[in-house]
């Protein structure tokens, strides 16, 4: 069964808190990566996010499960700036796996 998570339902339309994003990933996404064929992160209705939030959510996911997790994860309803933040977060996750970043 696919897992679809509405980010707006959990956090509202403005996403700024990296700690909350990390907690959400640990509790609501990580446990399902191995058991769900597809995970849809639905950003519909999200107006703004900052790097702190998206990095904690997405870079952490890549770091935890490797870049192959992108075969399962789909990002839905992202406005152009959220797309930029997600692309950069994926890149950060890849760099962290490669050991080029020690954050």
């Amino acid at each position: 069964m696919n897992l679809e998570l509405s980010i707006r339902e959990h956090f509202g339309s403005h996403l700024a808190d990296g700690a909350k994003a990390a907690e959400f990933r640990l509790g609501r996404i990580d446990p399902y990566v191995e058991i769900c064929p597809q995970i849809i992160l639905d950003f519909t209705g999200v107006r703004n996010a900052n790097s702190s939030f998206i990095n904690a959510l997405v870079a952490g996911l890549i770091e935890q499960h490797n870049v192959s997790v992108l075969k399962k994860v789909v990002f839905k309803g992202c406005n152009p700036s959220i797309q930029v933040l997600i692309q950069a977060a994926v890149e950060l996750g890849v760099q962290k796996i490669a050991g080029r970043v020690n954050a």
Binding site: H14, G18, N48, S51, V67, F75, N79, P80, V84
Partner: protein, 307 residues
């Protein structure tokens, strides 16, 4: 208080605020000469007064009756946030699109960013509105720096902003009265921070993925991106922490100096002035800022976006 606390008068003012005090020393703030003060001066003043109060220095606010900008200071909630109650003899008007009074940075960072961005760029919360790019950029820089204040400073932080429609500038300032950037690195145990100056520590904080908090809640890209957005919009940034001052201006190169007279600002102050006319297509600005610091590769990965 000096007469002018604007771009030229800010550093000398910070040097005054940074004068060393002995335990129990009284502080007298004389407002009688004050004629002009930017949001940066206001938040630095409030953060410092709150620190002095915490350190139990007796305080006197003098010269208020003859201060020609008393009403402005009251509208900007300077005295209120300093814990001083003054009677208001004027009517408050709508601040939207004009200014953001001094505000304490609490844990509700997202809500604060939304309120402030809505105030600086009214209507910008709607996609396609002429103010939407300024709204998005303001929200981003405010929330990233406010996160830093909350996570790193171990002090209290304040924010204020102002829109100058005639000049087309938006001025944003956040100040805290905490430990400063260098101490934050040292407390995190970074060996490379040993022997560093405050100015060097500020430069280091602008490098991508340098953070004293670390993964997963702070990957150390917030301040880097704030500086990147300043460069992309050909705007102006100043960061003061301890003795160090770093400025990025028209030539886009960071210039590091020290506060005058060997002074030290206890905490961190971040000041930005954006040119409204240069804040266009926020997503492209963000993309360019990320790419320029190596946080976004042109090749891209196989990311699947659905409408």
């Amino acid at each position: 208080m000096p007469a002018q606390i604007n771009a030229d008068g800010l550093l000398p003012f910070l040097a005054i605020l940074g004068r060393p005090l002995a335990a129990g020393d009284e502080v007298v703030l004389d407002f009688s000469e004050l004629r002009r003060v930017t949001p940066a001066g206001l938040v630095a003043l409030v953060a410092t007064v709150v620190r002095w109060r915490r350190e139990h220095h007796p305080m006197t606010f003098a010269g208020l009756k003859t201060c020609s900008i008393l009403g402005y200071l009251q509208r900007m909630d300077v005295f209120k946030t300093c814990g001083v109650e003054l009677q208001e003899t004027f009517q408050r008007h709508e601040a939207k699109g004009r200014f953001v009074p001094v505000r304490f940075i609490d844990h509700q960072i997202s809500a604060m960013g939304t309120d402030l961005a809505g105030c600086l760029a009214p209507g910008g919360e709607e996609y396609g509105h002429p103010m939407c790019d300024l709204y998005d950029l303001s929200w981003y820089v405010l929330t990233e720096i406010a996160n830093n204040v909350r996570q790193h400073s171990h002090g209290l932080g304040y924010v204020s902003a102002q829109v100058n429609r005639t000049e087309g500038f938006v001025r944003l300032a956040l100040a805290d009265n905490g430990c400063g950037i260098l101490k934050s690195f040292q407390d995190a145990g970074f060996k490379w921070s040993e022997g560093m100056t405050d100015a060097e520590a500020i430069c280091k904080a602008l490098e991508p993925t340098v953070s004293s908090k670390g993964s997963p809640t702070n990957e150390g890209v917030g301040l880097t991106l704030v500086a990147g957005l300043v460069r992309q919009t050909k705007s102006w940034l100043m960061i003061v922490s301890g003795c160090g001052v770093l400025q990025i201006g028209n030539d886009l190169k960071p210039k590091a100096v020290n506060l005058p007279d060997g002074a030290r600002y206890q905490g961190t102050l971040v000041v930005m002035t954006f040119r409204q006319q240069n804040v266009r297509d926020y997503a492209s600005l963000l993309h360019a800022a990320k790419t320029n610091v190596g946080l976004l590769q042109r090749s891209g990965k196989a990311i699947r976006f659905l409408p």
